[in-house]
């Protein structure tokens, strides 16, 4: 996002800093959780700092790099652009939910491994979550469609060829369809 200076009224001076925190429930990877945070805290920061789910990565913090992408009620969303309070009562899915409890990778993750689709892995969680949503809606995408979605993610070391190959492989695997929450629920924005 471009930076530019906006002229706006300065906020009113406060005598004391009020306690603005809110306590609310949400579901994270199927488990009910309760968090207490100020409303200015992003969902990305709550997932990482309050719930210890450091699989969600924070890169640019303004929606460009895609590393922080998670699913909210099955819909791919930038967690750095979502306030945590906005996830009240909603089901959040992070990269930690993809592999089985015994550590067995799911079809999409395995395809990334098969195709050397990651090196440092910083961008990988966001890409996996975007395509978990996308492949559930569109199980047999063309390469152009894959690249279109991938354009919402920045990878600075692996290069995109391996990632595209991995997603093509995953899309041809039967296990991938129905992977996203919204496939059962019908989707829709929050």
């Amino acid at each position: 996002m471009d930076q530019f200076v906006m002229e706006s009224d300065p906020p009113a001076k406060r005598e004391t800093i009020p306690d603005l925190r809110r306590t609310f429930p949400l579901k994270v990877n199927g488990e009910p959780r309760v968090v207490t945070v100020e409303p200015r805290v992003t969902l990305a920061d709550v997932l990482r700092d309050h719930l210890g789910l450091t699989g969600t990565h924070i890169g640019c913090e303004h929606g460009i790099c895609g590393a922080c992408t998670v699913l909210i009620d099955g819909v791919a969303t930038r967690s750095c652009l979502t306030l945590a309070v906005q996830a009240e009562g909603r089901a959040v899915r992070t990269v930690e939910s993809l592999a089985a409890a015994d550590g067995k990778l799911n079809a999409l993750q395995q395809a990334f491994r098969n195709n050397h689709a990651l090196q440092c892995g910083f961008c990988t969680p966001g890409i996996l979550m975007s395509f978990t949503d996308f492949l559930a809606r569109n199980p047999h995408p063309s390469e152009a469609e894959i690249r279109e979605v991938l354009s919402g993610h920045l990878c600075r070391c692996t290069g995109y060829a391996g990632i595209v190959a991995a997603i093509k492989e995953a899309a041809s695997a039967p296990a991938i369809a129905g992977e996203g929450d919204h496939a059962k629920r019908g989707g829709g924005g929050a």
Binding site: M6, G63, A76, L83, G152
Partner: protein, 301 residues
Amino acid sequence: MKVAPFSYHDPENLPKGLELLAGLEHARLLAGGQSLVPYLAFRMQRCDHLIDLNGVSALSGIHEQDGRLVIGAMTRQREIASSPLVSQHCPIAQDALHLIGHIATRTRGTLGGSLSNMDPSAELFGVSALHDATFHVQSVRGGRDIAVADWAETFMKPAIAADEMLTSVSWLPWPKGHGHAFLEFSKRHHDYAIVAAGALMTVDADRRINRAAIMVIGCGIAPTRLIGAEALVLGQRGSSELFAEAAHEVATLAAFPDLFAHQGYPRRFVSADYRRQLGLVLARRAMESAYAQSISIQKRH
């Protein structure tokens, strides 16, 4: 950076939201948050109160009413991009939506948020100009309609009062089979457009243009309808020469020289000449493409 402190309000219905907006000082409305949240995080903007409209379900939805397509301000860009009604009546909106952000931002980004933020590059404002939009705003004092041409007050600020909220937008549908094209140039795929152009066109049995709407964005604080170009092409058969002549209107737009001299605005490094040249080229190509499409559609009928 992290967002500065604010009080958070999440009204569950519109009257409550309007009441909060009227009663709170230094309040901002939160729609999709895909621009506002980073603005707040970079501290380019601040607010004491954030009124989150995501719980106001009455602000979402797409329906036909009195011959117009009415879209709620909180309707997500992704929903508009896949709506059969939009595809039928205003398909250029879907051409444009594919150029806006990424899938994971379109799932949150809203029509009303984009129009209220009023970035000079906003594609949906351009689409609204082509479809002769009416913007419906409400406040505790009542509601009113604003024509798309009157929406902009100044750089990134709509002509509405502090207690007013954009609640819906209506677009004038074009007939089935019209030609439509939306083209833009940006430095990176899906980045902000430097300049974009759009055209709608229909032709008669003799391939003469009998209706045209043409606009450019990035050439002013708001989209500019090329009224002269629209008049010039009427009754004519399309050709590269005709469309090049029509596009020349872009070069005459008065707002060009100092528009992007706003403090810190990054696209200022794009010179007026460069922007003008892009406008000329994109407007011509949009007309050519919309014309070719309207011809090929007519062949099939």
